[in-house]
């Protein structure tokens, strides 16, 4: 059992792992030889060392804070995003009225808006959640809305001849057909959530991995800064994987939708 499993892994990720190893070794070598000073790019080993040294602070405080912001922001994005998408789908005037605003909301540079968020929400968690929400709700609205529009005309007509009403069609055809697209949106959104939380913490905060990385950068603790960036990236990857697993579980037993 072990061997085929390893083989499968090697087949899927072997080349990636090899390249990663080569990159890490040459990176380490470049720093060790002294071509690049370690306060500009720290060696991978010193990043790991700093990660271990600061782990109580990193995991115990800052990771949890960031995770809180991400979770709240994501939850809010999903709820509001789905509500917006569904109402836009059901009522055409709402779509006409809201779509331009959605686009506008994405063209506003978040960094420029941040002083206002700080004014509104102070240095509390909500100023970060607001940034997370603004970056993360858009892909959910667009993907859910597009997914709902996919509802096939042939299916709709067939159901109508069976006596189905608007709600029947929404629930039996449009929602299941929108799910794959909805999950694509979730996957994009969760990654944006981590980015959004980091930006939010940079702009003003007292804890979180983004805040930590900024503080370390200004103190020239480049290795600690890289350690927190590594953690942020790992956080994004694990959250992304969680959505992928959820998607597989939910869409498991269905054939090709097309």
């Amino acid at each position: 059992m072990r061997r085929p499993l390893f083989r499968q892994w090697a087949h899927d990720y072997g080349w990636f792992a090899l390249l990663l190893l080569i990159l890490l070794v040459s990176w380490e070598a470049v720093v060790a030889i002294g071509w690049v000073p370690s306060f500009i790019i720290p060696a991978p080993t010193s990043i790991i060392r700093s990660l271990i040294e600061d782990s109580p602070l990193l995991f115990g405080q800052h990771l949890i804070a960031t995770l809180e912001e991400v979770s709240l922001g994501f939850l809010l994005s999903v709820i509001v995003g789905v509500m917006l998408a569904v109402s836009m789908h059901i009522l055409r005037p709402i779509e006409k009225a809201l779509y331009p605003f959605l686009i506008i909301s994405q063209t506003i540079p978040l960094i420029a808006l941040s002083p206002i968020f700080i004014m509104w929400f102070g240095y509390s968690i909500w100023s970060k959640v607001a940034v997370v929400f603004l970056t993360a709700f858009f892909p959910i609205v667009v993907s859910t809305y597009d997914g709902l529009k996919k509802g096939d005309r042939d299916y709709t007509e067939l159901l109508l001849t069976m006596g189905a009403n608007r709600w029947d069609i929404f629930r039996t055809i449009e929602i299941p057909m929108a799910l794959p697209s909805f999950f694509s949106g979730l996957k994009l959104s969760i990654v944006y959530c981590v980015v959004g939380a980091t930006i939010g913490e940079w702009l003003g905060g007292t804890k979180g991995l983004g805040y930590f990385s900024r503080r370390m950068a200004s103190n020239m603790h480049t290795d600690a800064m890289f350690a927190s960036i590594l953690l942020l990236s790992l956080l994004g990857i694990s959250l992304f994987m969680m959505i992928v697993i959820m998607e597989k579980q939910i869409l498991k037993r269905r054939g090709s939708t097309k």
Binding site: E157, L159, L160, T161, G255
Partner: protein, 258 residues
């Protein structure tokens, strides 16, 4: 008794009546009849079905189902089966067959358990007993078509509109489906309107054949198929059958050559 009668039906996709796809069409269908509708592409066969089913409204003319004049909403009055099986890929065979029951809000729709038992009985009779909990992508084309037909029957309507139900199947599977349908026909007690391009199929299955006009000066032509029931494939070589086929081909050919 006439189960369906169309009187002077006219329908046009655009505003002008000159380009009407169906013009002044009248026909009468009696209970228990199997009627095929033949016509070249673009002669409005599918449009006719959509009109009868209630997906479209005629510009003028009259549709009577069970002798009652239909005004607007007649959706859910007749059962409609499109060329594509349109089984929902995320529902099992049984759940797909339950669809018409789910949308039926009449008090006569029966209890779910009874309907399920009924579906299971019919699945067994259709040679699909073992596939009740399978998903559509696990079935062959012929099996999917049979499930789609069963779903059409479950709607419980007396009049079935079948729009090229075997058109997408290969020749062998199609033959098998003909045999199966002929075996079934005597116990079915339904009225079928059947669109096809296949002349042999039309003669083998039907009591009457309607030939739709291509130019509007020609009316609908009606052909009686006086072959005895039960029908079987050996009749393909019956002189009467061959004569009918020749006649049909001539009429179609004459039409398209003008």
């Amino acid at each position: 008794m006439s189960i369906l009668s169309l009187h002077n039906l006219t329908y046009s996709y655009s505003q002008s009546h000159e380009s009407a796809i169906i013009q002044g069409l009248s026909m009468n269908v009696h209970a228990g009849e199997f009627i095929s509708i033949i016509g070249v592409s673009g002669s409005g066969k599918s449009t006719l079905f959509k009109l009868i089913a209630g997906l479209l409204e005629p510009n003028c003319g009259e549709i009577r189902i069970h002798g009652e004049k239909c005004t607007t909403n007649r959706l859910g009055e007749v059962a409609y089966m499109p060329q594509k099986d349109l089984l929902l890929p995320w529902r099992t065979v049984l759940d797909n067959c339950l669809l018409p029951w789910e949308f039926n809000r009449k008090p006569s729709r029966g209890h779910k358990e009874e309907v399920i038992a009924n579906i299971q009985r019919m699945l067994a009779r259709f040679g699909l007993g073992k596939y009740e909990h399978c998903y559509p992508n696990e079935l062959s084309g012929g099996m999917r078509q049979r499930v789609a037909f069963l779903r059409t029957l479950i709607a419980g309507q007396d009049l079935l509109l079948l729009d090229e139900p075997f058109g997408a199947l290969d020749a062998m599977t199609k033959r098998e489906m003909h045999r199966w349908l002929l075996d079934l026909w005597d116990d079915l007690h339904k009225t079928i309107l059947f669109i096809t391009h296949d002349l042999e199929e039309a003669i083998l299955l039907s009591d009457r054949i309607y030939l739709l006009p291509t130019e509007h000066n020609q009316g609908v032509q009606e052909i009686h198929v006086n072959l005895p029931r039960p029908r079987h494939y050996a009749m393909n070589y019956d002189p009467h059958f061959i004569q009918l086929r020749k006649d049909l081909e001539q009429r179609l050919y004459e039409k398209t050559s003008i």
